[in-house]
């Protein structure tokens, strides 16, 4: 299976990369590991004229800690994140999430954290061969006006199945985006549009440079459900962060995020707040928050992943509950 033609550039400095991006913004795509982008190109879903490869951009590959944050360069390989003791200890959910991505050969050694966050939304009806899509009206994401996942929908309902993004949102991560003219930091929760066609609130000339994970002593967990152990996207996933109060026995702050349901990972504010002040041993409160998460996430459930809606909704509750329990266990041990 061959790729469509394109021109390749491999800038070796960030500056050069941003220049190129600025010049070709509309026709260019950033190539990091390529495990998402090249597949979409082979399927004819996109046909960029330029690929700007980050291969030579070693300056974007790092994991470091400063004061209260872990900073990860966007081009850092998932394998490096998995191998990092720092991430494992301070941002457990991310470590777990990266381990679950794809398989060793493809993702760990090639996939990058930036690419994982910026992987395009997926839909059972959209991520198909060109021929499959040719025999029907185009869907929103394919340039048309209909949605196969939800009848009568006026917009695209593809879902974000990124393991990394779900974990990072639970961890309260921020993204540093740079362009030739500007650099800005945006909370991951504010990074998404509500449209599956272009799910990221990002300008075409912008590049994801860095992921900043605040480290404030919380314990996190990531849980996902898939049909098999590798080469699989999550059917449902959940990331959770629990911070202990000064007395260590109660929850001072909680963040609950559900992935693979909506157009972006879903930060559930109300359910998160409900746990404030609760004991780490209060499984009834966890169950209540988990069930409420299910109800909140259920409004986003459409037929975009090959499993029934009833099942995915039920599993939201289960994944959130498991994540809460695991994080609570870790927090009480700490």
């Amino acid at each position: 299976m061959r790729l469509p033609q394109f021109n390749y550039t491999g800038p070796d400095t960030l500056e050069k990369a941003l220049d190129l991006l600025s010049a070709h913004a509309q026709d260019a795509k950033i190539l990091a590991g390529g495990t998402d982008l090249l597949v979409r190109m082979k399927k004819g879903l996109i046909a960029p004229k330029f690929l700007i490869s980050l291969k030579a951009l070693n300056e974007l590959s790092y994991i470091k800690k400063d004061k209260n944050a872990i900073r990860i360069g966007a081009r850092t390989c998932l394998a490096d994140i998995i191998a990092s003791d720092l991430v494992q200890k301070e941002a457990t959910a991310l470590s777990t999430a990266c381990e679950k991505v794809g398989s060793a050969t493809i993702q760990h050694f090639r996939g990058t954290i930036g690419g994982n966050i910026l992987q395009d939304n997926r839909c059972f009806h959209y991520n198909q061969s060109a021929f499959h899509r040719s025999g029907r009206q185009a869907c929103h994401k394919d340039g048309g006006k209909i949605c196969y996942a939800r009848d009568e929908s006026d917009r695209c309902n593809s879902t974000c199945q990124s393991d990394g993004a779900t974990a990072l949102m639970a961890l309260g991560a921020k993204l540093v985006l740079v362009s030739k003219a500007n650099e800005r930091t945006v909370a991951l929760t504010d990074f998404y549009t509500t449209d599956g066609i272009m799910p990221f609130a990002m300008e075409p000339q912008e590049l994801l440079k860095e992921i900043v994970i605040p480290v404030e002593g919380g314990k996190s967990s990531y849980q996902r459900l898939a049909y098999r152990s590798a080469i699989d996207y999550p059917i449902v996933c959940a990331g959770v962060l629990l911070k202990a109060s000064a007395k260590k026995d109660t929850i001072d702050d909680a963040r609950i995020v559900v992935g693979a349901m909506g157009r972006s990972p879903l930060f559930l504010n109300q359910e998160s707040s409900s746990l404030k002040g609760k004991l780490f041993t209060d499984t009834a409160a966890f169950q209540k928050a988990a069930d409420s998460s299910m109800n909140s996430a259920a409004t986003f459930a459409v037929h975009n992943v090959g499993a029934t809606l009833e099942y995915r909704c039920a599993m939201v509750s289960e994944m959130v509950f498991r994540a809460l329990q695991e994080a609570a266990a870790a927090a009480s041990k700490a």
Partner: protein, 761 residues
Amino acid sequence: MNELKELSIVGKRIPKLDAAKKAMGRAEYIQDIKLPGMVYGKILYSKYAHANIVKIDTSRAKALPGVLCILTGDDVPKKMKMGFYKDNPPLKKGKVCSFRDEVAAVAATTPEIAKKALDMIEIQYEELPGIFDPEKAMQPDSPLVHDYHKTNVLNLPWKLHYGDVEKAEKESAFVVEERFTTQWVTHCCLGTSGAIALFDSNNNLTIHTNTQIPSLAQKDFLESLKAMGIENKRVRVIKPIIGGGFGSKLDSYAYEHVAILLAHACRRPVKIQFDRVEEFKATSTRQPTIIYIKQGCDKNGKLTFRDMRMVLDNGAYTSWGATTPSVMMMPITSLYRVENVRYEAKCVYTNNTYSQAFRGYGNPQATFAIESTLDMLAEKAGIDRVQIRRLNRNQPGDVTPQGFKISSCGLSECIDAVEKEMVINGPKEKGIGYGIASLIHVGGGARIYKSDGCGAILKMDDYGKVDIFTGGTDMGQGMDNITAQIVAEELGLLVEDINVVHSDTDVCPWDVGAHASRSTFVAGNAALGAAKKVKAVILEEAAKTFGVSPDQIVMKARNIFVPGDAEKTMTIDKLLRKVHFSPQGKMLMADYFYDPDNENMGKDMKGNMSVTYAFGAHGVKVKVDEETGKVTVLDYVAAHDVGRAINPLLLEGQVYGGVLMGLGYALTEEVVVRDGKTMNANFRDYKLFTAKDAIKIKAPVVETYDEFGPFGAKGIGEPGCVPTAPAIANAVYDAVGVRITTLPITPEKVLAALMEKKKNH
């Protein structure tokens, strides 16, 4: 048993003969073959499940530089039809009946140009209402898939009734009844399909193609040539090394016939190579089924009757999937002793994909229903699950209601072997369950076709080396080893002395194909027959040399000698030269055609289909996560009666591979088809197990020594995947008390059943 005495070569764990070549990346698959002047063919498929073709305009595509030839249904001779029902032309004309319908084909100088040309072919369709549910398609008001056929129900003879089922039901102490369904699954051969066709200057055809049936494919292609008006020409079928078979290559496919048409039209070698999406969408699946079953027993648990009815979604065309009932009948009439049996299957046209042979050939579907209901029956009758199987087990000397003569039978020993490794009825933790299921399968050929034979030609050179030309086909399963080991054993040589030539119809004799777990038995007996003929001559010559009678002479480890007489010994190659380079010298050659003494089924479906039958029992331990419904396999035992293991290493490989394939069938695999369209045509969405999901499988071998098998062996290619699904379903029931009747047993089905159960309690 005396017959199971230790042998020199047979019974040894000899690595697969072509493994080193494959390990070095030097094996040539169809993907790797390029011929001088070769061009590339591509096929355009239908955009609709059911539509009239109003107009096809190929003019723009034809004008594309590099395009050599474009064909549509109009260019296909009327009599060129595929499948055993001959209802499938390689390119469709007038109407398409499924998404995989081939509507046009292009030959071009590069694959890219061919693909581009396909995009430039303009077709105007008029969409018709499709029918996708076989039970609805049977209704009189259903749209017709083929108007000329008048009904969607195929005219096939799948019906039998032995004994008196109604009477037996009335007299039964316990009866269970259930509806089961099984899904589409596909072979997922790692090497995708492909063919290269070329005509020589005299219009003789050579075709390199991925096939499991060189001789029958040759016949199909000859018929195509005849339809094209090319008569009395030769067809040479060469099968390169193939990346897996599993039954997928038991029929000729449209792409092969299209390659022939294109090659003939543009006078160049034409290669059609499928990509993965095509492999998923345009090759055939395992036959899906809807099964209605009733089984009963007396108060002691002895089976009284079995009543089964099936509806098979035939898809839009008819390949071997529609004949799987002929093999489903085997477990239905003959798995365990049951005197009163009734079975009827209807194959129904729909606008879905059509099915093919797939490892087990209907047996896994039927066994799923039989073995699941057997557990239900045991529970109802209050009898231990293992006990009910022992009580009703087949035994040597049985003749089953369908007329199968059970020669050797190790079912009892297989159940013992499972119980030795696993306590099926022992105490267990919450969420843990055990399941058991048995199998019967053909183990000594299967007379589906008029001949079940295989030919072998053997020649020896002056250096003690053998070339054996066999009709048998190797597709990775090890037919080559089995042949070499049998010949080496018989002729007192080493395996490396034997060169097995196969899969080329110009040099190899006829064979019905690599199916029905028949290669070890049938190709093995053919090779053994040829070796025996040569051996007889060698012994006669040696007898003259040594001045003894032939029966005093032994051939072993490249030597020929009279035991106990140090004077009377020489190397085999020396003897061969002596025989050759003497006045009226001889070269040692022999041919042998082995056609097993089995029977075609009669009108009443009776007949001893196979010379011998393979048996087995599987035991499994699972853990069910009651919150997610996910089933995890913790332990697996697959015990098989193989007659005799010719090569335990390869035998285990067949069992392990079969079991994991069966586990996929049971738990994760399904071709998702929506309104006729395949929705998961890739390895990400079609859930094959990965190495991370792999489990340790114990594979105890029961050797019963079958008197008809080569050195006592029976077939083992398919059995591994036959009883896996019911074993799992039974274990899930044992673990959490829910009976899943539709495959695959996905987490969501288990969870839904658990919820339902909670509601009712």
